[in-house]
Amino acid sequence: MPTTCGFAQETRVLERVRRSVASLGHRVIDGIWRTGTVARFFVRLLASSGPSFQRFGLVMREVYFTGVLSLVIIIVSGLFIGMVLGLQGYETLQKYGSTEAIGVLVALSLVRELGPVVTGLLFASRAGSAITAEIGLMKVTEQLSAMDMMAVSPMSRVIAPRFWAGVISMPLLAALFSCMGVFGGYIIAVVIIGVDNGVFWSQMQASVDFRYDVLNGVVKSFVFGIAVAVIATFEGYDAPPTAEGVSRATTRTVVNSALTILALDLILTSLMLRGGT
């Protein structure tokens, strides 16, 4: 009796292990499959983005929704992050008696890293999720199918303008973010703590290089903009046409964008800093 009971239990355990391994494999295969689909979607998107430049008004409308309406959150968070950097940096630099390097610390960390990355994350959650929800809802209410019926390509009429709006907005938002951050650091370090104004700027200018730091930051934010825009439009276009499907797609946009931005940031940084200086 006990042997059969033990045997049955063993099979159950084995079955559970088999299922978890199978689901893991299923997830991996699904991920690879999705990557391929995203690549195909991206190529189709580029191929059908001609009309969005002929009718640039469409892109401008989307830049208004994704870029201009994100200005408040970008400017406010840039200011706060710069202020926090100023406070924290001062606290640490004070121990080494080199508080005049605070300008360098604030400017370099903002221009190189925090500007593009935090703007990308904010942009994904503020604008990317909205794009996904909008396109997903258009799909649920069969507006995309209706367009197809009328021989209007939803790819070039709905999706490409949103993609290009994201690509245009991201670098500008990141530049504004870094700018506000430096200003926030200036407020804390110079106005409130009382680091010398001239030293603050001259140390910053001596260490921040236009090509290595400012331009690389712009390149980063441009790449992040492409990534977020592709993920947001794809998840919307690919969403199952149900309320639950749209909500899941929106969540996936934010999560996947964040992960992609951070992974791309590691790759880009290692490529950019390889030369030294």
Binding site: G57, V68, L172, C179, D213
Partner: protein, 168 residues
């Protein structure tokens, strides 16, 4: 009517973005203030440049007067060949000396110029003859220990070899 407001917002947004980029490159990155067109290049050989990097400032009396333009290793002399780009507004006597200094305890290395008394001025392509290398902390500590050991013969037993650079 709708279109015009959008146009306005779009224009304002793009203008603000580019203004931010401009501020970043001019105010933060200091682009434009150091074109190589209005500078002249002089060379200096150092035995050891420490942590000096390309684009490090060249200072005289604490004022930045130029940048390090190029650093390479001279394989014939086993020395570092440093090219300094000095602003055209400033001219220095021919017997100016160059030394590698550090700003603050944790600061960056820079090249300090000490003006001499020669009537002739440094011209483009000239070489600064009198140079002083960077202070390497390990060597400094080593010298300090050797000189300490020499001061106390009981501890050193008078058998320690005298380092070449130790003060007598």
């Amino acid at each position: 009517m709708e279109r015009t407001t959008i146009d306005l917002w779009f224009g304002a947004f793009v203008a603000a973005g580019f203004a931010a980029l401009l501020v970043l490159s001019l105010k933060v990155g200091n682009l434009g203030a150091e074109r190589s067109g209005d500078s002249y290049r002089v060379e200096a050989r150092f035995d050891n440049i420490g942590g000096l990097k390309v684009r490090a400032p060249v200072r005289s009396a604490g004022v930045t007067v130029g940048r390090v333009a190029d650093i390479h290793f001279d394989n014939a002399r086993y020395q570092a060949d440093v090219t300094l780009a000095i602003d055209k507004r400033y001219s220095f006597p021919k017997d100016t000396s160059a030394s590698i200094l550090t700003s603050g305890l944790l600061g960056e290395n820079y090249v300090g110029l000490e003006a001499g008394g020669d009537d002739h001025k440094l011209k483009a392509g000239d070489r600064i003859a009198i140079t002083q290398s960077a202070v390497v902390l390990e060597r400094l500590i080593g010298q300090f220990l050797f000189s300490k050991a020499q001061e106390e013969p009981a501890a050193a037993n008078g058998k320690l070899p005298q380092p070449p650079g130790a003060p007598k």
